[in-house]
Symmetry: C2
Subunit: 216 residues, 2 copies
DNA sequence: ACCTGAACACCGTTCAAGT
DNA sequence: ACCTGAACACCGTTCAAGT
């Protein structure tokens, strides 16, 4: 992809690339072609170096990904919290987690696959924690509310970010329901065979969860 | 692992194995050594055959996994629903999804990684759908309630089934919170740095979601 | 119909060697 | 300090060939 400024071929040393360039190229790869495209060999090819050069700078694939997630973490946290009441502000903060995940779905999927979701969302979670404390909860109570809300967000995100097009037609949720014949109302089966408005059910459920955990 | 009954070495034809044996061995592998252990080569070695033999019987890795999930699906659905009121029975049915996922966490993780969760849980979802209809909801209303409840279950499952020991210490949720210094109450930070009682927050939140979506 | 040997095109990672 | 060539031990999958 990028050629060396110093005319000649990459023989010997000095590519002019550093760790940050590796991470930047990795992010570019993930956002353009998805998490699966991020392989060490592919990244090396993109940078016109050997895989070993990548290894020298980033250590390993896991470290590269951790660094990538870390670098996105701060950027994704730049979101405003709105609302008058504590409950409204908590809902707003939780929606920020949802919105930022959607705005960066490739990176979010990568984090999810590699178990680094907590790292990616931590700044947004801290913001949410502040709003929960502002509502009057601390300690175990605050932790309980935060974890409940975050799990709720996570559940809807998994459903909403799942790439159904990558799944064979006959294994898709809608297909499974359309083939269901277990004495359910045809209208119910029909509704379940159609598309899902993830954002709508998320917001509705989020309000219920927040109302249940946060004193008015 | 298993040797041929017919004395000699596997030269030529007839291993005496069929598609079901492949699926059974795959299940055994997943349950004993986790989803990552399920590779075509590993499975072939376990059965004392060539990878091609596996391919001949199951088609591909994706088909093998789909078949594996399908075979677990029915078995995992054998759960009773208890409770007097519609709400109680819905909560019971939702807990069955949770309980069966825990009882079969290796297979559940595999399904989750391969996008076949819907296939695995479908019978339990059908049972839940029946209880929702028994509560008086049909069509879009029933679908809305079902999807909300299932997403909620899914969110808590992701958190509860995640293998934290596979994540480097400094990327774990607890570690991230213990290092957080953003003006939060020390008691809150301390609580968030400790272990999570997934089952407790799940049950509490589930009740809130069900109450919000199902008329009493 | 059922199975093997050999190969293709990938992975992550490491070692010894070069400048 | 920084980079390459070559290799190791894996993947999923396919092709031609055997019985």
């Amino acid at each position: 992809m990028s050629q060396n400024a110093t005319s000649a071929v990459n023989t010997g040393r000095r590519t002019g690339l550093d760790r940050d360039d590796m991470v930047a190229a990795a992010l570019h790869l993930v956002e353009c072609e998805g998490p699966a495209a991020l392989t060490m060999r592919r990244l090396a090819a993109e940078l016109d170096v050997t895989t070993n050069t990548v290894y020298w700078h980033v250590g390993s694939r896991d470290e590269l990904i951790a660094e990538l997630i870390r670098s996105c973490s701060a950027r994704m946290a730049e979101r405003e919290i709105s609302g008058e009441t504590p409950q409204q502000r908590i809902i707003s903060a939780a929606r920020n987690v949802w919105d930022s995940a959607f705005a960066n779905r490739a990176v979010t999927s990568l984090a999810h696959q590699t178990g680094t979701t907590a790292l990616l969302e931590h700044p947004l979670e801290v913001a949410l924690a502040h709003e929960i404390e502002a509502a009057g909860l601390t300690g175990e109570e605050a932790a309980f509310a935060l974890r409940s809300i975050l799990s709720t967000v996570g559940g809807f995100l998994v459903g909403a970010l799942r790439d159904e097009s990558a799944i064979p037609t006959d294994l898709r949720t809608a297909t499974l329901w359309s083939r269901t014949d277990a004495g359910l109302d045809p209208a119910t089966v029909s509704a379940l065979s159609g598309p899902t408005d993830h954002a709508l059910i998320f917001v509705t459920t989020l309000e219920a969860v927040v109302t249940a955990h946060i004193p008015a």
